[in-house]
Symmetry: C2
Subunit: 127 residues, 2 copies
DNA sequence: CAGAATCCGTTAGGATACTG
DNA sequence: CAGTATCCTAACGGATTCTG
């Protein structure tokens, strides 16, 4: 195998692996939900309050998707009234901690970089 | 500050940092483009060939967005005919290497996890 | 509280064709 | 080669209302 073929193969492998990760974790909300989950928020409305801006509809859909991928466990405690539903992180969810850490670190640096320079790329204010 | 307030503050900080990262790197293509860039692909059509499935329109738009964020440098070599345009990673781009590595590792594990179990979450085939 | 149902606007991004 | 220009649609996601 020649040099550029090696390069191509490595790039393709990297590309495909990252692609898979993005496929599961991508989108606006999934990682945020997982962070809240790992932080200790487990109830539906609690999650909605913690994750600013998410609607019940979207939260519900995202939780289902995450459950399909084994990243959330939905637990119904039927022995209580009213019924309590909890969304719990799984063992598998904890394997994401490194991703979250690394991404968070970079995001922090990036914010400092742009606010430090006084550059505003796009408007993002809320109020 | 009480315990749950600390938790809330930490979670919010983490949330906001990751949010910032997603804002810049999110979407279907940005990270893939950066990987190709870091691997050594610099020309427009070269990138399009390497990143399977991306259209010229989208590639063009994404490159502009990345350039705005300082993650790509567009270099025109006017001393040649025809004019050669190169998209080069910056120093700042290299700060993403860890993210790419971690994300790639996880994606690889995840793929093994699902293919190993024979689970097909959603259809994703191309042909 | 924990959602489902409905409606509806925005947008990411695909397909194709064209240009200097 | 290095893009632009158009057109178009599927998916994302916001707002609101309703329910057991």
């Amino acid at each position: 195998m020649e040099k550029h073929e090696v390069k191509a193969a490595k790039c393709a492998a990297q590309l495909s692996a990252v692609e898979d990760a993005i496929y599961v974790l991508g989108g606006k909300w999934k990682l945020r939900i997982l962070i809240a989950l790992l932080t200790g928020y487990h109830r539906f409305n609690e999650l909605q309050r913690t994750i600013k801006g998410i609607s019940a509809r979207v939260l519900s859909a995202e939780l289902k998707s995450l459950e399909l991928n084994g990243l959330v466990k939905r637990v119904v405690k039927a022995d209580q009234t009213p019924v309590v539903v909890e969304y719990l992180p799984t063992e598998y969810t904890r394997s994401l901690k490194q991703i979250i850490t690394v991404l968070g670190d970079w995001g922090l640096k990036h914010k400092k970089r742009i606010t430090g320079k006084g550059v505003k790329i796009m408007e993002k204010e809320v109020e």
